[in-house]
């Protein structure tokens, strides 16, 4: 296995450990965060804050040191130039409805495969069908977010 693949495996392990440690894999905690008018649980704001700050500062420092070169002759990704159009807003609103219904976004759903939860064996195939519907029904499978 190439060094690049081993690094991607390691990156996924950091990500997955972080997801589970942070409580994002617990649908009850996610719903507690979205339940502003109820018994609000602010913990996911710490998760988001820690993740955004680490990624943002890390990318900034990396770019500053290397002029934008990644490993293995790649260029570091830049901010997407996606138009903030109706499709972006409607798609994100639809995603949020699904997120609020069951408390799963894609990463935590996949992380929960590690615990063989019945819920994610229902959720993940449905998510795949939804993605294929977006692609074949609406031609929507944007490439900026690879």
């Amino acid at each position: 296995m190439s060094a690049r693949l081993i690094i991607c495996l390691f990156a996924g392990a950091l990500f997955g450990f972080g997801l589970a440690l942070s409580g994002m894999t617990d649908p009850g905690r996610v719903i507690g965060f979205l339940d502003l008018t109820g018994d609000w649980d602010p913990s996911l704001a710490f998760v988001m804050g820690g993740a955004v700050t680490t990624f943002g500062l890390g990318m900034w420092a990396w770019r500053w040191r290397t002029g934008g070169s990644g490993w293995f002759a790649s260029r570091l990704p830049t901010r997407d130039n996606d138009p903030a159009d109706r499709r972006l807003v409607i798609g994100s609103l639809v995603f949020g409805i699904g997120w609020g219904l069951a408390g799963f976004c894609p990463g935590p759903a996949i992380a929960n495969l590690a615990a063989m939860r019945t819920e994610v064996f229902a959720f993940i195939p449905a998510m795949a069908v939804g993605m294929l519907l977006a692609r074949f029904g609406f031609g929507a499978d944007r490439d900026h977010c690879p």
């Binding site: 690094i7 991607c8 990156a11 392990a13 997955g16 589970a20 409580g23 649908p27 009850g28 719903i31 339940d35 502003l36 710490f46 998760v47 988001m48 804050g49 993740a51 955004v52 680490t54 990624f55 990318m59 990396w62 990644g70 260029r75 570091l76 997407d80 138009p83 972006l88 798609g91 994100s92 609103l93 995603f95 949020g96 409805i97 699904g98 997120w99 219904l101 069951a102 799963f104 976004c105 894609p106 990463g107 759903a109 996949i110 590690a114 615990a115 959720f123 449905a126 998510m127 069908v129 939804g130 993605m131 294929l132 519907l133 977006a134 929507a140 499978d141 944007r142 977010c145 690879p146």
Partner: protein
């Protein structure tokens, strides 16, 4: 075994690890490592552009397994929806993330970290509809499937 109760420190350290994992994946791939995008690309595999995503997910599941085993509060799991509703949620999440172009990681972590205005708009949109959905279920949700 780390048997302490869940605290904001778990949330913060977990978030930092999510950011680090994203950073390492971005540096190795040259791409924004959004989960919904990487997952959908695995549904459309292309030679030479699949193994790194597949291994990222192998690592993700392995990392989660380690946290579930080693950190007691990480194993908390409180499902909130019936299985039919969970299937509906999965359809909406899959469709919406591909129509919109990203999810909590691609927009909410990477996009915001890079200062993208599109990502800010997308994040505001899915937070808003998530909050409204939970509000409606809380107040009018009796009798839902």
């Amino acid at each position: 075994m780390l048997t302490s109760n869940y605290t904001f420190a778990h949330a913060l350290v977990g978030g930092i690890l999510i950011g680090l994992g994203s950073l390492v994946a971005a540096g190795a791939s040259g791409k924004i490592p959004g989960i919904s995008g990487m997952f959908s690309r695995l549904l459309r595999p292309r030679a030479g552009d699949t193994a790194w995503r597949a291994l990222f997910f192998v690592g993700l599941i392995g990392g989660a397994a380690a946290a579930f085993a080693l950190v007691t509060p990480a194993a908390n799991f409180r499902p909130v929806a019936s299985l039919p509703l969970t299937v509906l949620a999965g359809l909406l999440v899959g469709f919406g993330t591909r129509l919109g172009g990203g999810c909590t990681s691609g927009y909410g972590v990477c996009g915001l970290g890079l200062g993208s205005k599109s990502a800010l708009l997308a994040t505001a949109a899915f937070m808003f509809s998530g909050i409204v959905t939970v509000f409606l279920i809380r107040h009018f949700g009796t009798g839902m499937p």
